[in-house]
Every structure is written in structure tokens, then in C-alpha cells.
Amino acid sequence: MAVTIKLPAQLRDAAGGASEATADGGTVGEVLDALYARHGELRERLAGDDGELRRFVNVYVKGEDIRFLDGLATPVADGDEVTILPAVAGG
């Protein structure tokens, strides 16, 4: 199932300059693994040694933070949009 992944400006050089990528997978984790398979550098930027996302990496499925869903096990469907963004403090 093809999912669109929106990449923040900070990651585009590691993905050949693209702002979006498509990848297959049934969960967020599978989609990210497919992305890492194509762009190896993204794995070390986004994930720690344990394979979990680094603590300042935010991932959204259709606009919802995956920490409110099932994390990396959150299911995705064909045509869904996954957005990766750095955490930013506000106020």
C-alpha cells in the first residue's frame, strides 16, 4: 500500500532533495523501514539504536501524532499521508 511521506526541510538532503516520498507498508514502522531501505542516512537521523524514534522526532498520520495512536504500530492505509517533523518548543 503506497503511503505519502512528507519530509521536513532538515531531512531533504538525505533523501535526494525531495520534500515527499512514497513507500509501502501496513504500519508507520513498516513505511519508515521502506523509506530507510532507500535512504539509509534517514535511519540514523530519525531512530535511535533501539529502533525507536528519537525523542525529538514527531510523526503524524493524517495530522494525528502517532503517540496518540499506536506509535510505530499505527496502521496506515493506501493514500494516507505520514508527516515527519522536528519537535519545537512554543509559547
Binding site: 512528507k6 521536513p8 526541510a9 532538515q10 538532503d13 540514523e44 537521523r45 530519525l46 528519537r54 525523542r55 525529538f56 522526532v57 514527531n58 503524524y60 495530522g63 501524532d65 503517540r67 496518540f68 508527516t83 517533523l85 522536528p86 519537535a87 519545537v88 518548543a89 512554543g90 509559547g91
Partner: protein, 432 residues
């Protein structure tokens, strides 16, 4: 000791802006220590950790404490007196006078709570009535140096007003993004400055996410709390600098401050640490006590659970200025509270209203909901016996009650009478 009233002091460099060596040296990742040039960037490309300003040592600040103290005291009556500790190349020739807000001795509140010595840092005295004028002052000065021509922000309200006002003074267009359900007072007092308000259907975290995306696509826009955030955040250090100077170059034993993103909380501690490192004050960083609303308490929950993982929450509280469910500096705030012997507490909406009332009745300072949170947590700490009678405590009241008026509506009675003496006597004569 009384608070300063020194806004009329002559500027440090009358007639022009100061050209000097930039005190800052680099941006540095708080997670992996990778360094970057002093540009508009806020996130580490290697690990996505937040970037923070690193200063030249030991030349900045100057290494002679007596000389440094003289420089500060001879400086302007604004936060720019601490320019040796701030990340700008030039001290702006003119800007909305921000900082050096009163540090008010709160004896009646102290007595009510059983605290020996209590001071209120009254941030309602800033140009747009909140501490956000501090962070915006630094962000805007740096944004101009970096060549930006438009300023923007994601805001829970107070930042919106500060960005709008400082941009108006500087003559820059401003775009402020806010949750659509913000208090009307905050929307009205922002729009009055001519900023373009963008009301986003969603909570602050949705607004923040949108702004993070927009900032990646709009070159020329300085989002004060996104792409120039490392500079912006430094402004909160001046809360600590002023406190120490106003206490006669001493550091309080305990501090109570609100936590939304955790930026102010952590930067206040950093400010005290920088003054200690510079030899301006003795002692150590105060015990840092953070204050959150129960309806949005990811940092307090992490603290209580003994972890530094701040699980995001969906905010539901009257303290909208603190309603950040996904606080980026949360892990650092938890670690700081633990390291300094402080805590992070949360209070209910009713306790927040009571806190607003308590502060107003005992100090004459009317605060918005965030100040109600801070006061309520202060009361809780006192009740728990965490504050020793011999200790000096400072509470940071970060915003003005005029911006959240609905919270006090209906909490007191108004005697409505005809314009006759007898009517007055009938209504209140027995009481006065």
C-alpha cells in the same frame, strides 16, 4: 528593597547601536553537541535535538566580575543591560522598552502561606503585559541581523501580542498563528497592532505543527519560536539576571515558574547559572519548582512517574497560555527540577481561579491564568511544608489578568444601587 524604576536611565551607547564582538560562538545541539553556525536553524540535522546558543568563553562575558557588574549597572533600563549574555551582534538602537520589571516584595501573601520571604517578579509590567516581550526582543533583533523581512509565530496568545507589537515598532509585517478558540482579549489586543492573525482550527500543538511546516517553505520569514528559536529562548534568561540584580546580586533559594513548553523554566535556571559562572553572584542554582495545569500536565506527569518521557496530552484547561500538550523542552524541565531539589506540580482549574484571586487580594497584582497556576502551586508547596521559613522564594508571574477576564467573571458581587444615600446605607451600611 524596592523594585527598579529605572527605565529613564540613559542608554549605554547614546546616539547609535553598539557594534561589538558577538558574544555567542555557535549553535549547539543539546542532545549530541554537534555545532552549527549562528544562522536561522533550530534543530540538529543529525539527531533532531534542539539547538541552543553557545557563548565564547572566557571572553564573554568579561572575566572581571566587578567590571561586568559596572557595565550592567551603567546599561539601559531594559533587558539590553545584559547584552554581554545575549546572542546579538548589535544592541538595537531603539526597541520597545522591555524588562527590568518590578520585583515586588509580597509580605501579605508570604504571611498567608507561612513563607519567610517572598518576592513576585511582575511580568505584567512589560510592554504587552507578559514575559513574551523578552523573548521577542531577542528574536527580532537577531532576525533583523540575519536579514529576515517578516516575522511570525505560533502562539497561545501572549506571544501573538508581543510579536505584533514589536513588529509594529520595527516596521515589519507580522503573521501570528493562534488556536481559533483563544481568549477574545488576546485576539483583540493582538489585532490592534496591525498583525495578520491566522486562527487555526485546532489546539496549540496543531498550530505549532503547521508553523513548523510553513517555516520550512517561507524563506524570509522569521518564526520567532521556530526557526530563530535558539535566540528567542535566550530572552528568558533575563528573568533570572534581573532577579539576581534586584535582590542585590543574590540568588533566591527557591523559584516557582510556569511550564508550558519548558523553555522559560529551563532558561531561568541557565540565567542563574551564567551569573554564577561569571562570578556575579555566589551560591548555586535555586530549587526550581515548575507549575502546570492539571488539564495539560505532561511534564508534571513525567515528574511524578519518575521518568523524563513527557507523553503528549490533549489540553483541556482554562490556562490556555500553558496549553502545550507536546512540550519540546519537557524532558529538560523534569531533569532540572530533580537536579535542583525542586518539583513539578499540577493544579486544577478551580485552584487556578483561587490562585488568581489570592495573588490579587494580597499583592495588588492581577494575573492571567498562568499566574494563577504559579500562585496555586506556590500555595501547594507551602502547604506541603517544602518551603523553609528561612528561605527566600521568587514566583514568576508571567502575564496580565486583563487578558483572561472571563476567569474572574462572577467570582465577586457588585452592589448595584440607586444614586441615593439611603440606598447605599441599605446595601452596605451594615458593613462599612
Amino acid at each position: 528593597m524596592k523594585g527598579f524604576a529605572s527605565r529613564s536611565l540613559p542608554p549605554l551607547h547614546p546616539g547609535g547601536e553598539e557594534i561589538r564582538e558577538m558574544p555567542a560562538e555557535a549553535l549547539k545541539c543539546k542532545e549530541c553537541s554537534t555545532t552549527y553556525p549562528l544562522e536561522a536553524r533550530y534543530v540538529c540535522e543529525r539527531c533532531f535535538g534542539p539547538l541552543e546558543v553557545a557563548y565564547r568563553r572566557p571572553t564573554h562575558p568579561p572575566s572581571d566580575p566587578a567590571e561586568l557588574k559596572r557595565r550592567i549597572q551603567a546599561g539601559p533600563g531594559t533587558l539590553w543591560r545584559y547584552a554581554d549574555f545575549l546572542p546579538v551582534e548589535r544592541v538595537p538602537r531603539a526597541s520597545l522598552p522591555t524588562g527590568l520589571t518590578p520585583l515586588v516584595r509580597a509580605d501579605r501573601l508570604a504571611e498567608r502561606l507561612g513563607i519567610g520571604e517572598l518576592w513576585i517578579k511582575n511580568e505584567t509590567a512589560n510592554p504587552t503585559h507578559s514575559f513574551k516581550d523578552r523573548v521577542v526582543s531577542i528574536a527580532l533583533a537577531r532576525a533583523v541581523e540575519l536579514g529576515f523581512d517578516t516575522v511570525a509565530c505560533a502562539s497561545t496568545g501572549n506571544l501573538a501580542g508581543a510579536v505584533a507589537a514589536h513588529a509594529a515598532y520595527a516596521g515589519l509585517p507580522a503573521y501570528v498563528f493562534i488556536p481559533a478558540d483563544l481568549e477574545p482579549e488576546k485576539i483583540l489586543s493582538t489585532g490592534a497592532y496591525g498583525a495578520q492573525i491566522v486562527a487555526v482550527e485546532g489546539n496549540y500543538d496543531a498550530v505549532n505543527r503547521l508553523c513548523t511546516e510553513v517555516s520550512g517553505e517561507r524563506e524570509g520569514w522569521a518564526f520567532v519560536n521556530v526557526n530563530v528559536r535558539p535566540y528567542y529562548a535566550e530572552g528568558s534568561k533575563t528573568l533570572a539576571f534581573e532577579t539576581a540584580e534586584q535582590l542585590g546580586w543574590e540568588i533566591p533559594d527557591r523559584v516557582v515558574a510556569p511550564i508550558a513548553s519548558g523553555s522559560l523554566f529551563t532558561k531561568v535556571a541557565r540565567g542563574f547559572q551564567e551569573f554564577i559562572d561569571a562570578g556575579l553572584v555566589g551560591g548555586g542554582v535555586p530549587a526550581m519548582h515548575g507549575a502546570q495545569a492539571e488539564g495539560c500536565s505532561p511534564v508534571a506527569q513525567a515528574y511524578a512517574a519518575g521518568t523524563d518521557v513527557c507523553r503528549p496530552v490533549k489540553p483541556d484547561t482554562i490556562a490556555k497560555s500553558l496549553a502545550i500538550g507536546n512540550p519540546a523542552d519537557g524532558p529538560y524541565a523534569v531533569e532540572l527540577a530533580r537536579r535542583t531539589g525542586g518539583s513539578v506540580d499540577a493544579v486544577s482549574d478551580d485552584e487556578i481561579r483561587a490562585g488568581i484571586r489570592l495573588l490579587a487580594e494580597t499583592t495588588g497584582i492581577f494575573t492571567e491564568t498562568a499566574g494563577g497556576v504559579t500562585t496555586a502551586v506556590l500555595a501547594k508547596l507551602a502547604e506541603r511544608g517544602e518551603i523553609d521559613r528561612g528561605e527566600r522564594v521568587v514566583a514568576y508571574i508571567t502575564g496580565d489578568g486583563l487578558k483572561t477576564l472571563d476567569c474572574v467573571r462572577g467570582t465577586f458581587a457588585v452592589a448595584e444601587i440607586e444614586p441615593r444615600f439611603e440606598a447605599f446605607e441599605d446595601a452596605l451600611g451594615a458593613r462599612v
